[in-house]
Subunit: 147 residues, 2 copies
DNA sequence: AAACATTTTTTGGGTAGCCTAATCAGGTGA
DNA sequence: TCACCTGATTAGGCTACCCAAAAAATGTTT
């Protein structure tokens, strides 16, 4: 079995399904469509392709599940998402909505090395010199009310 | 101002043309193709669309130029590119090729706020506590040829 | 169970972006 | 001048991703 190609968009679908499963237990076409900001027919298209690639268990009108491999990819992507979002909010002081938006795109492109380095950097700053961070963030976080 | 929509890919074409113009003075289809890693016909397609949107001056077999608006967009994108690349290399200690790769994607998605905040953060760290940075980067910059 | 409501799927079609192969334009050397 | 070479363009076609409208299945209510 050769290395299957997965597009950025498919990665997003997997991530959406993963989050739905985690939060609601059930994965429905309607909800995927809402999260992905597309219409249901587009979701069905995506599901068929992902099923062919062995990333999703899908039979029409039946329940939708991620396979082990699909789940692995989704988790990997989602963990990048969380890390990037935290970095943007906690280190750079970006408002949550913007941080979310930026992370949501970058997570699909960022290299492993950069992810790891961001993790190390955030940890280093927060543990070794939290006061430096506090000083930088002063006046930045409260633009949205309170800290 | 028309409500023209510009795709990420078109932004990349503009940026490539901007860099070619800056470095070689002339913008040729062949060189754009090489930079964009596509074949010449794809470049011609892109040029036609960009010309329709008023971002490029293009008449077939004639010289290619960015319009003022095209140049403005390209410069804006390119400045994000430079900033992100510098951030990845100088603050996070990412190897140049990886930094380039990551910046090259993120530049098309990153919000203005995040760009500005990254600029401020880099400046803050480098000016106010360069020793902290030095400490973090110790041992990271020389790890070349690893994956 | 029948009627209605909701969800999912199919059908048919559209756009963006890329390609190969063939053709066209312009410069250059015999 | 003409034959050749390179670069640019057109023609035709492909895949990914999206949509609206209609049809099919499922869920719900009475």
């Amino acid at each position: 079995m050769r290395p299957l190609e997965i597009s950025k968009r498919e990665e997003e679908y997997l991530e959406a399904m993963y989050i739905l499963h985690k939060n609601k237990g059930v994965i429905r076409v309607k909800d995927i469509a809402k999260m992905m900001k597309v219409k249901p027919p587009s979701v069905v298209d995506a599901l068929k392709k992902l099923a062919e690639k062995g990333l999703v268990e899908y039979e029409k009108y039946d329940r939708i599940l991620l396979t082990e491999e699909g789940k692995r990819i989704a988790e990997e992507t989602y963990s990048k998402h969380l890390l990037l979002t935290r970095f943007f909010t906690d280190i750079l002081g970006i408002p949550p909505e913007i941080a979310e938006h930026d992370a949501c795109q970058f997570e699909h492109y960022v290299s492993k090395i950069t992810v790891e380095r961001i993790r190390e950097f955030a940890q280093f700053i927060q543990e070794e010199c939290p006061y430096v961070l506090k000083q930088f963030l002063k006046g930045k976080l409260e633009e949205k009310g309170k800290e």
